[in-house]
């Protein structure tokens, strides 16, 4: 691999690692807000226990999310110094405001976790709301920088020098709204489906008390409603995102769909492999006219094909597969959540075990959807770092040693993934929900995630 590829691999792996924790860091507090609200409305202590236990899990996840976020933030400057030189001059504000949002989250997270017993119910809700708000705002602001990379505005490059800087135009680049909504709603959806997974897993286990089943059913229902609603929203917004691509990044849409020739009545190819030699998608299913409709809401919309662009500026063609995985997972999750909701609450039938098993997979599926979506969006912009402005090879570092660092970071990520899963499991095994559900609240010495004093 050359230096550029190594830099991209190292950064991509770090992002892929961070995204797991960052997404859950946005999605879980969103669910905690719902649980806290339900507790205030229904006064059922199950919701308070749900909020408490989710927060514990979230606190552990945050222990990895924060330093891994620090890593990707700093690594941008280390691996893509050419890119950051432009970023600093044009789109520094969202990075800066992201820090404010993050400080807000960190401050209220500590307040919510370590001062919970000293807070009034109102202040409790306010603090968990600020945690969720800070997390969501961070996601939006970082996405803002990502949106700007796809649809850069607010500056000109003259002989390699940045001129005519307009920070406001850079912040409100055309793809900001659709992209930010897509990231937010898919993160909320993932948080909800991870809850669904855990609840379904617990419901599969035999020999629990009725109260425990009720408790897990409440979690399942809350997760399914939030997850179902947001997966539907994500899909609708994904449609808007595709139209944004049609408008602003036609070669990315063409590569996503494996379309080589510009045409109206363009077909939508599902699965298969885009073959640059024959100029078609091999082994896929074609839905006639559908791509034109997707891109412009009418069948005679002309969709640009890859052949309009010089081949060295094509995005890699495997993004067709990434795009398909993301879309198929999204559709599956909509079907699954609404199917189960109807089965359980309209038809009033009990959930068979095979359906619960399917639900267990929803969290992992959702995370895979998130990962493929991000990789699609970032590799789909290649060979550009800043679309039509800066090539990745001009942005990447020219220092050596990347191979060593790549090995080092990847091994640490692998170890930490394993350890985090182990610690989460260990913690919740030692603190089973049956203890929390017991009538007298007893306080064990090692109750908190926080204090070991």
């Amino acid at each position: 691999m050359d230096n550029v590829e190594l830099a991209r691999s190292l950064f991509g792996t770090s992002m892929a690692f961070h995204i797991i924790f960052a997404t859950l860091g946005v999605g879980i507090p969103f669910m905690v807000v719902f649980a806290e609200l339900m507790f205030q409305i229904r006064k059922n202590k199950h919701y308070a226990i749900l909020a408490k236990r989710w927060t514990k899990g979230f606190a552990i996840i945050l222990g990895v999310a924060i330093p891994s976020g620090t890593i990707v933030g700093v690594m941008l400057s280390l691996l893509f110094p050419g890119f950051m030189a432009i970023v600093g001059q044009v789109i520094a504000v969202p990075f800066q405001v992201e820090i404010w949002a993050f400080l807000l989250e960190a401050v209220f997270m500590s307040i919510y976790v370590y001062a919970a017993d000293r807070l009034s119910p109102l202040l409790r809700i306010v603090s968990v709301f600020f945690v969720a708000l800070g997390a969501s705002a961070s996601a939006v602001l970082i996405t803002d920088a990502h949106a700007w990379m796809n649809t850069p505005r607010g500056f000109d490059l003259v002989n390699g020098e940045v001129v005519n800087v307009d920070p406001i135009a850079a912040i409100f680049s055309p793809s900001l709204y659709t992209t930010a909504l897509h990231v937010l709603s898919s993160a909320y959806m993932t948080g909800a489906f991870v809850i669904v997974s855990l609840a379904a897993y617990k419901l599969l286990k035999q020999g629990k008390s009725k109260e425990e089943y009720d408790y897990h059913n409440r979690a399942l229902l809350l997760g399914l409603i939030v997850g179902g609603a947001l997966s539907l929203f994500t899909a609708l917004n994904g449609h808007a995102t595709a139209q944004m691509l049609h408008h602003y990044q036609p070669e990315k849409l063409a590569a996503a769909e494996g379309l080589f020739e510009t045409t109206d009545y363009a077909p939508l190819a599902i699965f298969g492999v885009a073959d640059p030699e024959t100029g078609e998608v091999k082994g896929g299913i074609e839905i006639p006219w559908a791509l034109s409709f997707l891109a412009g809401n009418s069948f005679d919309t002309v969709v640009k094909g890859l052949n309009e662009y010089p081949r060295e500026l094509w995005p890699p063609l495997y993004i067709h597969t990434l795009f398909n995985i993301m879309v198929v997972i999204g559709i599956l999750l909509i079907g699954l959540s609404f199917g189960v909701l109807i089965w359980r609450y309209v038809l009033k039938r009990t959930l068979p075990r095979w359906l619960l098993r399917l639900l267990v997979s929803s969290g992992a599926l959702s995370l895979i959807g998130i990962e493929t979506g991000w990789i699609f969006s970032c590799t789909g912009r290649q060979p550009w770092t800043i679309y039509h402005m800066q090539l990745t090879k001009d942005a990447a570092t020219q220092t050596g040693n990347l191979g060593l660092l790549f090995t080092l970071f990847v091994s640490i990520y692998a170890v930490l993934l394993f350890l985090t899963a182990f610690v989460l499991r260990y913690y919740f095994k030692r603190h089973p929900v049956s203890k929390d559900l017991m009538p007298q609240p007893h306080i064990t010495e090692d109750e908190g995630v926080g204090t070991n004093g």
Binding site: L62, V64, I71, L78, L405, Y427
Partner: protein
């Protein structure tokens, strides 16, 4: 004042605040490890009680420093980013291990001891490594080859100035955190822990001063310019030393109520000491960010972005000010939190 001067002042202030917060944070992790398992003293538990709610905020400050540098001095970050790839990557790895193992340790009693050792030791190394950026910025270790800044890692490792800087970072970290925790234990009314941290601070104080003085004598020939500049700004360093003397002796004052030392006065005076020294050092460092390749003026961003950033700072402070006040009241002031058993 020129806009670039305002910007470097802001970055320097953030760096100063982080160096204090980071020293206390990483140092507290170390003390928590040392005293954590002791049956006789509560000192470890106290360090952890401070650390639990604050480490996330402190960590965010580190990112704030980097982001401020990216926004205000994008050319500096692109040069530093290239040159410092290896050392900063090491810091990042240590940081990742430190934070995650700290949270793991909180979550698992059984393996707590081993996990705390990992987070305590990695945390101990981080400030030392961060301080290593200082000698690098002074010249002699970066060459620009074909427009690409290259750091001579071997030359750096072989140079005594690096090790003295590391010693300075390490002793400062331990000294500041011991001093802070002495004050924190007194606020919590824990006499035993207080005396322990006071003793540690008394031992460590002279080392910080020793290393600070020694650094100027170990500078490589390329960095002599800063020694001369420091001599021109010597007044700040005299004030700084005076503040140290006041702060250090404050630990020995005997107020009427019996417990020796006034840690609040000591900590305040030592912060003033570091502030004076930072101002003197900062003034001596001007106009360079990275000697001799980049001055403050050359690295500065464009005025439009600068103004947009300033607005974001004002808004950020307005929103975060009350939040920080609440935070401070709940964790550094509230007796119910400080005195829990």
């Amino acid at each position: 004042m020129a806009e670039s001067s305002i910007a470097i002042l802001l970055v320097w202030t953030l760096l100063f605040v982080y160096s204090i917060l980071g020293s206390v944070d990483f140092g507290a992790g170390f003390w928590g490890m040392v005293y954590g398992r002791s049956e006789v003293t509560n000192a470890g538990a106290l360090a952890n009680r401070y650390l639990s709610p604050t480490w996330e905020v402190t960590n965010t400050f580190l990112v704030l420093v980097v982001v401020a540098l990216v926004g205000f001095f994008p050319k500096a970050i692109s040069m530093l980013g290239t040159a410092l790839l290896l050392p900063v990557s090491l810091v990042l790895i240590l940081l990742l291990i430190r934070s995650s193992f700290m949270v793991y340790a909180y979550s698992s009693k059984k393996y707590g001891k081993e996990l705390t050792i990992v987070s305590g030791v990695t945390g101990l190394l981080i400030p030392g490594l961060l301080v290593a950026v200082l000698p690098i910025s002074l010249g002699g270790f970066i060459d620009i080859v074909d427009g690409v800044p290259i750091l001579h890692f071997g030359r750096l490792l072989a140079s005594p100035t690096l090790w003295v800087h590391l010693g300075f970072g390490l002793s400062t970290e331990l000294f500041l955190s011991a001093l802070f925790l002495a004050d924190y234990s007194k606020e919590s009314g824990d006499r035993g822990a207080y005396l322990l941290y006071r003793k540690a601070a008394l031992w460590l104080g002279p080392f910080t001063l020793f290393f600070a003085v020694i650094t100027t004598y170990t500078m490589v020939s390329e960095a002599y310019w800063i020694v001369e500049a420091i001599e021109n700004n010597v007044l700040w360093f005299i004030f700084s030393t005076l503040a140290f003397v006041i702060g250090y002796t404050a630990l020995l004052w005997k107020p009427a109520n019996g417990m020796p030392g006034v840690p609040r006065a000591a900590f305040t005076a030592i912060i003033v000491q570091y502030a004076f020294a930072s101002i003197g050092y900062g003034l001596s460092h001007l106009p360079y960010i990275i000697y001799p390749y980049l001055t403050v003026e050359q690295g500065f961003t464009n005025p439009n972005t600068f103004r947009a950033l300033l607005v974001s700072y004002v808004i950020g402070l307005l929103i975060l000010g009350p939040a920080f006040y609440l935070f401070w009241k709940l964790f550094l002031k509230d007796k119910r939190y400080l005195r829990q058993e």
